[in-house]
Each structure stands twice: as C-alpha cells, then as structure tokens.
C-alpha cells in the first residue's frame, strides 16, 4: 500500500485545511517531516492513526516489566488532556469540525478513508456531544460507519498498528520490556502478528462452552440421582395404581351383576303388564304423598309459630284507642303537674310577702303608699292561688306514674309490625300443602281401588326387590366413582414419578459427555496449533529481526544477530555464540527497531511505516544506518517525523537526497525564512518593547504576517 495524499483539517496545530501530497514520480521510500517542537510532527503521525482506527492513545509507558495501559486522547477538552482538535477551531468556529482524509493505492485498488467529527454545540463540549462519521472507499466498494471500520480492519488490523506506527520516544520502554523475563507484551505482539487474537478468543469461547457443558453434566448427574429416587417412587405408585385398577374392575363386575339381577326383576314386573304400570303409578303417588305430607307438616308447624301472637292482632282492635288515650293523658298530666308547681310557688311567695310586709313593695322595691290596702290585695291573691291549687289537685286527671304503668301494660298487648302478614302467609302455605295432600290422597284412593291385593303383593315384593337392587346399584356406582378417582390419582402420581425417572442416564448426558470430550480435544488442538505457530513465528521474527539488525548495526564484526528465547526475551547474539550482556543504548535501540521491523515483516501486511522521533535514542552512526536501511529505492514508504535536532534538514537532504521521495518542514509564522507570497528571502522580523518577535514583513512585496500565531504551515523542502 502506498500513501498518496493526506488532508488535515483543524487537527493539532493545523488550522484550516492542509494537503500533503506524497505522490512522486519516483519509487523511493524515504519521506521526512522536519520541525521544531510544537509544530505538529506528532499531530500528522496521530492524524493518520486517528483516520485509520478512530482513536489515538497516549504514549506507551512501561513499569515493572509490563505495559501501562495507554489512555485514549479526547477530540476536545482541556489542554492537559491533549485534545486532538485544533484549539482555535474549537473556540472560534460556529460548528467546530476536524477531519482527516487519507488516500492510498493498494493491491485491492484505490483506498480513500475520510474520518470527520463535528462538535454539537447544543450541549456541553464533551466527546459525548460529538458527531463522528467515517467513509471508506476500497476499489469499487464504499462503506460507512461500522461497516467502514470493519473494512479498514481487513486491510489494516488495528492490532498491528504498533509495527507501523513506531514511536521513538517509546522505544526505551519497549526495549526494557523485551529484555525482561516473562513478558506478556511481546507475546501479545507475536500473537497479533500471527493474527491469533481471534483464534485466542475462539479458544476462550470454547473453554467457556466446555465449562457450561461440564456444568450441564453435573446438573444432569444430580437429576439422574433424583430420577433414580423417582423411579423407585414410580414403582410404588405403579403397584398402588394396579391395585386401584383391580378394584375398579371388581366394582364394575359387581355393578354388572346387580344390573343383570335388576333386569330380571324388571322383566318380571313387565310381565304384569298394565297392572305393573298402575302399581308403578301407585308407588309414585305414595312417594309424592309422602313428600307432600312432609311439606304439610313443615308448613303446619310454621303456621303455629307465625300465629302464636295472632291473638294480639284481635285484642289490639280495642286496646289501641285506649293506648292512644293514655298517651294523650300523660301529656295533659305533665302540663297539670307543672301548673301545680307554679301555683304552689306563687302561693309560697305571697304568704312570705304577707308575713314580712314592712311598707316596701316586694315586686317593685318602692315604698307602699297605703299598707293596709296593699295587705288586702295580697290576701286576695293568696285566696285565688289556693283555689287554683285546690282545683288542680282535685284528682280529675290521673297521676303520671299510674298512666305510665297502664301504658306499659297495654304495650305488652301490642302486636309487632308484620305479624298479620306473616300469619296470613303461613296460613296460605299451609292451605296449599293441605290441598295438595288431599288431592294426592284422593288420587291414591282411586288407584288403590284398581289394584288387586295379589298384584299388589307380588308387585310389592318385586318392587321391594327392585328398590333393593337399585339402591345397591347406586351404592356400587358411588363406590366405582371413588375407586376410579383413586385409580386416576395413582396413575397421575405414577406418570409424574415416571416422567422424572425418565431423565436418568438418558441420551442427554451421553451427548454432553461426547461434546465435552470433543471440545477438550479441540481446545488441546488449538493450544498446540497456537504453540506451534508461536514457535514458527518466534523463529521467523528472530531471523527477520537479525537481518535488520545486522544491516543497521555498525558492528557487524562483533554481532551475529538477535535471539528470541521461548519466552520471547530478546538478546543480542555475538559471533562467538554468546550474548552481549551490556550493549550500548544505541545498540539496544537498534535491536528494538529490528524486532519491531521483524514483527512487521512476519505480519505480511504491506503498509507504510511511520516513525515519530526516530533518532531520539540513536547515536549519529545508528541514525544514519537506520535511514540507510529503511530508505530504499523501492518498497514500503518509510515516513519519519523528525525534530530538527535529531536530523538536520540540510544534512539529511544532502546525505539522503536521492533516497528521499519528498520532505517537508513545519513552520509557524515566526519560522519563515522567506516570504510565502513572493518567495523573497528579504524579510524583516519586527519586535515589540520586550524583544518579542511579533510581526514579519517582506521587503520585496510588503506582505506582512503575525508572528505570534501558532498555526502551522506545511512547506515542501525543495531539493
């Protein structure tokens, strides 16, 4: 796969759109980005990772021999979180947007990946409010969303990215990992190269299935034990069921026999022809008469109860007016009683006034003008009061107490509400029953006149016999019903226990056992395969890494290559068959780069290699040697993102010019060495009072620019 264009929009320090054209008419593999700190080298490197895999992780750190899980860098956020989006775009644009377009040519045709993210301003500025889209075109196929992600995974699995995106700053950590014992990290890498993660996941799935099946087997074994118990119970129920069924058969036999006897009796009765019919009617009438007579007894007894107080209905005809009279008298007597009390009180007051007369009127408190006359008037009033009292006490009205006694006596004679209706209803019911009995008795009398004594006797005996048989038949039917019910219950119990017993050692556990056995074998096979692949991969990586190492190292006379032991622990092999126990840091870095490249080669994936800060831990000779190795006349593109201190632009261009397909410098405005408008190198840097470089100006075309801005411009380095 060969990268052709990279279009950056508002990512890192790149404000607006920046197009990087990687096309050349040469097949050289060397590409270089030179820049001072902060200009965006790593942002370009990260832009491609984000475009391909939708996320960029912080640099790998190692501690105590194991990788510390890197964090995913946010699209937007605070400065310390290292957001990917350009901060000016995020702060200033109405709808901040970041996008990266990657165009390449691969074995499957043209590839274009467009990943875009817009900030949704309605809510808080968080990744949650971002709208991300992905479009992938591969040959004639176009996919979006998750399908597009899957398409990328097919031609560039994310698990292999660490072999193509190499971070020079992380080399030391990577290096320390592969030198130590029992490192999971490199094993993971080897498995990734072998594309084993999916097989490993499959293996884990199988182990999980095996666990479930074993659990099933245990469950079934438990059920089997229960089933054995149920089988014993089923046997007991079966015996009980058979006993009950025999009882049913016996009862049916009895019924059948009694029915036969009854048929014989009925046939005998039939022989008496019409007489039998009459006798039947007689019997029926007798039964009806018996029942009706019982009803008559009940209604007669009810009638007695209901009419027990009926005499009150009669006596009340005369007592009621008297009752009302006494009620009225009580009202009157109460009035008279009050009048007596009032009159007596008045008399007492007059007597007192007469006895104590001292010339002052007791009514008005004034002095009486004529005492003698006043005394005479009081005397008259006393006489009047005495007469009234005498009249009231004359006894023409009965005392209240006496009246109450009389009312109480009359109340005991008062009928209850509804007494008459109840008595009449009971009487009517009795009359109906009485009439029915009389009617039936009359009919029976007429029938009796028709029936001869002999026929009555014979049919009576047959009737008794039939009644007896019918009664027996009824009893037997009840018995049959009960034993059938019992037999059905026993059958249900048997079937229930029998169904439970059916789970014992059936085909289910047998199948499970077979499956379990197969899965165990399968797991073993896969484990062996992985182990075998790993061994082969170890050998292949060792060979590939050794080849790289021997090409890059500057001590080919001392070293023989790189050795990876069974635990993927790496050492530098000496010509004498021993290992270099204290290699220089540069040699170690070369070893690491060699292993990474060895892994990349074994992976079989053909894609450009991106190396950020490639010379960080290499000495000058190794830096040169590394470029010598990776920058070739043809093959996979090898892009370095170098700090100006690592690789000087002029020197690199001079030393590797023929191998460099294209190179760029990343500038802020203050870095300009010529006018971007007219290309003139006659430019002036204006400073403020503090000596800060604040403005640039072209002396040739008078173009001016703001040197305080930190927006990066990508400029191709002309050879």
């Amino acid at each position: 796969m060969r990268l052709q264009y990279l279009v950056l929009h508002n990512i890192g320090p790149f404000r607006g759109r920046q197009i990087i054209d990687l096309n050349t008419d040469k097949s050289d593999t060397g590409y270089a980005f030179f820049a001072a700190n902060g200009r965006g080298k790593t942002s370009i490197y990260n832009a491609m990772r984000w475009c391909l895999f939708g996320e960029v992780k912080t640099r790998v750190r190692a501690g105590s021999g194991s990788k510390i899980k890197p964090k995913i860098r946010p699209i937007t956020g605070e400065e310390e979180d290292e957001p990917l989006m350009n901060s000016s775009a995020y702060e200033e644009d109405r709808i901040p947007e970041m996008s990266v377009i990657l165009m390449a040519e691969g074995s499957q045709g043209k590839i274009q990946i467009t990943r875009d993210v817009k900030v949704h301003r309605a809510g808080k500025r968080r990744d949650d409010n971002l709208i991300e889209s992905l479009l992938v075109q591969l040959g004639d196929d176009t996919e979006t969303g998750q399908d597009a992600e899957e398409m990328i995974q097919k031609f560039f699995p994310s698990s292999l990215q660490q072999f193509f995106f190499i971070d020079g700053e992380a080399l030391e950590e990577y290096q320390s990992m592969i030198e130590q014992d029992d490192i999971q990290g490199l094993k993971d890498d080897v498995e990734a190269v072998l594309r084993l993660p999916s097989i490993t996941r499959g293996l884990e799935d199988l182990v999980s299935i095996k666990r479930k099946i074993q659990s099933n087997i245990e469950t079934v074994n438990k059920l089997s034990q229960k089933a054995v118990k149920a089988r014993d119970e089923a046997e007991q129920f079966r015996i009980q069921m058979e006993v009950a069924q025999r009882e049913v058969e016996y009862a049916r036999g009895q019924i059948s026999k009694v029915q036969e006897d009854l048929d014989v009796v009925n046939a005998e009765i039939e022989k008496h022809g019409e007489m039998a019919e009459i006798v039947n009617q007689k019997r029926e009438l007798e039964l009806r008469l018996e029942a009706t007579n019982a009803a008559l007894i009940r209604s007669a007894e009810h009638r007695i109860k209901m009419s027990a107080e009926s005499w009150k209905l009669l006596i009340w005809k005369q007592a009621e007016p008297l009752y009302l009279y006494y009620e009225n008298q009580i009202t009157t007597a109460n009035q008279v009683d009050w009048e007596i009390k009032t009159a007596q009180s008045k008399l007492d007051r007059l007597n007192e006034e007469y006895k104590r007369m001292d010339g002052i009127c007791a009514k008005c408190g004034q002095k009486v003008p004529d005492i003698e006359k006043h005394m005479k008037e009081i005397k008259v009033e006393i006489k009047q009061s005495q007469d009234k009292l005498k009249h009231l006490n004359s006894g023409s009205i009965m005392q209240v107490d006496e009246l109450n006694i009389r009312l109480g006596s009359l109340t005991s004679l008062k009928p209850q509400r509804g007494d008459l209706e109840r008595a009449k209803a009971a009487e009517e019911a009795w009359l109906i029953d009485k009439s029915s009995v009389e009617s039936l008795a009359e009919k029976l009398k007429k029938i009796n006149a028709k029936v001869t004594e002999k026929a009555t006797t014979e049919l009576g005996e047959l009737g008794t016999k039939r009644g007896s048989k019918e009664q027996l038949l009824r009893t037997l039917n009840v018995k049959l019903k009960n034993v059938m019910k019992d037999a059905a219950e026993k059958e249900r119990s048997f079937e229930n226990a029998d169904s439970k017993s059916g789970l014992s050692n059936s085909s289910l556990p047998s199948k499970d056992n077979q499956t379990n056995s197969i899965i165990i074998k399968l797991i073993k096979t896969i484990q062996n395969t992985i182990e075998s692949y790993r061994k082969v991969a170890r050998r292949d990586v060792e060979q590939a890494a050794s080849k790289v190492f021997m090409e890059v190292t500057n001590a080919t006379e001392v070293y023989n290559g790189i050795s990876l032991d069974d635990n993927f622990r790496a050492k530098i092999r000496l010509k004498n068959g021993k290992f270099d126990v204290a290699p220089s840091s540069g040699t170690k870095s070369i070893m690491t780069i060699s292993i990474i490249d060895g892994l990349r080669q074994v992976s079989g994936l053909e894609a450009p290699i991106f190396f950020d800060t490639p010379g960080r831990s290499l000495d000058e000779k190794h830096k040169q040697a590394m470029l010598e190795y990776f920058w070739k006349e043809k093959g996979q593109q090898f892009l370095i993102f170098a700090h100006s201190g690592e690789y000087k632009v002029d020197e690199t261009m001079r030393d590797f010019g023929p191998k460099i397909a294209k190179a760029w410098e990343l500038w802020w405005p203050r870095d300009y060495t010529y006018c971007l408008k007219c290309k003139s190198q006659e430019i002036i840097r204006h400073k403020d009072g503090n000596g800060e470089n604040i403005r640039g100006e072209c002396m040739n075309c008078n173009h001016e620019w703001d040197n305080t801005l930190k927006n990066t411009t990508i400029l191709e380095v002309k050879k």
């Binding site: 009669l314 005809k317 029953d433």
Partner: protein, 126 residues
C-alpha cells in the same frame, strides 16, 4: 271508668266443657297436619278466643254441665288484661276472670261456626 281506689276482683277463668273440648281439637298434632289446629296448647286457643270475643265485644256465660272447666291459671294471668277490661266490669261480670271467660266462650262459639262454615280459624283475623 272506675275510681283509683276501687279494687277489681281477679276471679278465675273457665269455659264450658264442649268449648274446652273444642279447644283441645285446636291443639296441633304432628300426625294430623291437615287438621285446622293452629295452636300449641289449650291456653293459646283460649287466649285467641278471648281476644276474638273482646275485639267484637261479644260475651256469653259458659253454660251446661261442667260449665267452669278451668284453664291453667299459671299460663293465663288475668291481671295482665285488667287495663283493657276495667271499663267492662259490671254486676254481671264483676271479676276479670268472669269477664275474660265470657269473652272466650263467645269467641269460641264464633270459631266453631267458622270451622263449620269450612273456613280456617285464622281466617278470623281478617
């Protein structure tokens, strides 16, 4: 109306022998439920007859042989009816017992006639 201080004699109750026999026939027997015998005892039949006679204000002196066949005094307390009867006490029926007996005798005669007419005893409630 009588004076407060006047004491009414209680006397005893009784009916003529044929009336008492009639009353006996009005006592319910479970083996003859079809018979018009709506009372539980002779006293109840007597009480009904007295109430009937009193309601119609008809009296009759018990006549004939054994004319004063007693009605159990413990089951029929004449004083319970003194309030409604005091106004009717006169020289002919000068005790409560005598007056009640006269009402009952007359009532019983009417009950006999009712049955003779083919009607039931309780039809007299109408």
């Amino acid at each position: 109306m009588f004076e407060n201080n006047e004491k009414i004699k209680s006397g005893s109750v009784g009916v003529s022998a044929n009336v008492k026999q009639f009353f006996s026939g009005l006592v319910y027997q479970s083996d003859n439920p079809e018979v018009d015998a709506p009372f539980e005892s002779i006293v109840e039949a007597f009480r009904f007859a007295f109430a009937l006679g009193h309601s119609l204000k008809i009296t009759k002196k018990p006549t004939g042989k054994n004319s004063t066949a007693n009605i159990a005094p413990r089951s029929f307390v004449v004083e319970h009816y003194s309030v409604i009867l005091e106004a009717d006490i006169d020289e002919e029926f000068n005790s409560l017992g005598a007056l009640i007996s006269a009402y009952a005798e007359a009532g019983a005669e009417l009950m006999m006639k009712t049955q003779t007419d083919g009607k039931s005893i309780l039809s007299l409630l109408d």
